[in-house]
């Protein structure tokens, strides 16, 4: 991980409360999809952890949802603004051999699955959950990667009405491996729905003090002992979360 200044080259609204920011700078420490950055925002005491959507050798793409003061300030930043960021934080997704991998993203949790999907060697099924049609984003981007995209919305304004599990059931999707990121209730429902024999990876979210393992503010109990979401995660194997899942 490093601390450095990055230059905003794009910061646009792409859906209801959802923004896409592209920053330019050192990307060498980003090594896997699902890692995150921690952004210093003038006027906020704590940094804001934002998951990396995608990256290349010059830029990092961040998708974020405006949920409070910090992300609101972020959404108003203009291109060429310098951002102080900690980069290359956390352990991301590990791509595993599987015939039929399924990627399930709920709300802004979809963001890191794009960088993952782009790096998957095999065809994927991507299940996107949102509250309503206006909140959907990156549907075409996932399709352009060759993924089969299935959608659920809470109000039925697009795709299956209900949750991601309803969309999976309606479309009769089976998988032999899964990768997911989204709200805890969604991941909990998914954990209950998917047969116990299907392995997978969950990316978790937490309020964080530092984002790099020092304050242990974001610890959870796993089957491998106490782990820090920011440093040991945010991605955990399904097996490691046996204890945590029933609390999710």
């Amino acid at each position: 991980m490093i601390q450095d200044h990055y230059i905003i080259i794009q910061n646009d609204k792409i859906a209801n409360n959802i923004y896409k920011m592209v920053v330019e700078g050192d990307t060498k420490v980003v090594i896997s999809p699902g890692q995150f950055v921690n952004i210093r925002i003038e006027g906020c005491f704590l940094r804001r952890p934002i998951s990396i959507c995608d990256w290349n050798d010059k830029t990092i793409t961040l998708l974020y949802k405006v949920v409070g003061k910090g992300t609101e300030i972020l959404s108003e930043m203009k291109p060429l603004t310098k951002l102080d960021m900690l980069v290359g934080l956390g352990n991301g997704f590990s791509i595993k051999d599987s015939k039929v991998p399924m990627l399930i993203g709920g709300g802004i949790g979809l963001a890191p699955l794009f960088g993952l999907c782009r790096r998957m060697p095999q065809k994927t099924v991507v299940v996107i959950g949102a509250d309503t049609q206006r909140s959907l984003f990156f549907v075409d981007e996932f399709k352009s990667l060759g993924a089969d995209v299935i959608i659920s919305t809470d109000d039925g304004s697009e795709g299956t009405k209900g949750f991601v599990t309803d969309a999976i059931k309606t479309n009769n999707i089976e998988c032999d491996y899964f990768y997911t990121c989204g709200p805890m209730p969604m991941m909990n429902a998914l954990n209950t729905y998917l047969p116990e024999t299907v392995p997978g990876q969950f990316s978790l979210e937490s309020r964080m003090g530092c984002g790099f393992g020092a304050c242990v503010g974001c610890s959870i109990e796993t089957t491998n002992g106490v782990k820090r979401i920011c440093k040991d995660g945010p991605v955990f194997y399904r097996n490691d979360l046996r204890n945590e899942c029933h609390k999710m």
Binding site: Q3, R40, L86, R207, A214, C218, S219
Partner: protein
């Protein structure tokens, strides 16, 4: 040449900057940012007799000039710290180590301090913990129980013992004096202030445990005031702690009476804080007319 070294009861520090316990783990996390050997000392993660998961999530709440934490003394327990964490730290770090010990009974303090004594340079005793044998009242909130812990720990240790005091008391001077009279070699002050935030949309406290320790720049004036009061009343050295974020804060803390200074929450936001302070300290001292840092200790 500006002298920035200080001496804590015979333990020579190359500079007065010490990352505060609980903000620096066991040193590993900061190695990506700088060589931790530049530090004056490291106060390692607060340790208890048994391993502790700590408090439920969420444990962190942001405030306008600080944060509340309710980590709840998560730590791997004294045996793992003694057998694994301290030896591991010694592999890449060659400056003084300060153990930070917590207990829920006098026996736990004694056992932990006894086990860690041979491996560290200074023992910092956190008396902010609730005493389970006395209705959960914190050891550090009255002079008698603070003195009891001090006396018991002093009896089983050979290293300088610093009692880390809680600011959540009506008269910190009486507690500091009780610790000094009970044989404490020094005092660290202050620990976090008890605080609370409420999520107005969810109509619930942000922290799962409702309340937690408030730290950060907001508490700096409280820390300065308490260090000043205690330094005037006691003659043992003080490690000043509370909201220190930059080089001027360090100088201010030392002028209030601290011999060394712990930097806590600032490490979490700006991981380079300690390095920056250490680099700036000599020139800043020269600018304000000093070439020996020891001359500013308790100058006011």
């Amino acid at each position: 040449m500006v002298n920035i070294s200080v001496n804590l009861n015979g333990v020579q520090l190359q500079n007065p900057i010490i990352p505060a316990s609980g903000t620096f783990g066991f040193g590993n996390e900061f190695r990506d940012f700088y060589d931790v050997n530049i530090l004056g000392a490291i106060s390692i993660k607060g340790t208890t007799k048994e391993p502790r998961y700590g408090n439920p999530q969420p444990r962190i709440a942001e405030c306008s000039s600080g944060m509340i934490n309710s980590v709840g003394l998560q730590n791997p327990g004294i045996d793992t710290v003694v057998n694994k964490e301290i030896p591991n730290l010694r592999k890449f770090y060659h400056q003084p180590i300060i153990a930070n010990i917590s207990g829920f009974s006098i026996d736990e303090y004694v056992e932990c301090c006894n086990k860690v004594d041979a491996l560290v340079d200074i023992i910092e005793v956190n008396v902010s913990c609730p005493n389970v044998h006395n209705g959960g009242m914190s050891f550090g909130t009255n002079p008698e129980s603070a003195a009891m812990v001090t006396k018991a720990v002093k009896a089983v240790t050979t290293k300088p013992v610093f009692i880390k005091l809680t600011p959540n008391v009506t008269d910190i001077v009486s507690i500091a004096k009780a610790c000094e009279n009970a044989g404490a070699d020094g005092l660290t002050l202050i620990n976090t202030l008890l605080g609370m935030r409420i999520d107005i949309k969810r109509r619930k406290p942000i922290i799962a445990n409702k309340m937690g320790g408030f730290s950060g720049p907001a508490i700096f004036p409280v820390a300065i005031r308490m260090v000043y009061q205690v330094a005037k009343a006691c003659s043992i050295p003080i490690i000043g702690c509370g909201g220190v974020s930059n080089v001027d804060d360090v100088i201010e803390m030392m002028m209030a009476g601290a011999t060394a200074v712990e930097v806590g929450t600032a490490n979490l936001i700006e991981p380079m804080t300690c390095k920056t302070i250490i680099q700036q300290l000599p020139n800043r001292l020269l600018e304000i007319g000093f070439n020996n840092i020891q001359d500013i200790i308790g100058i006011i």
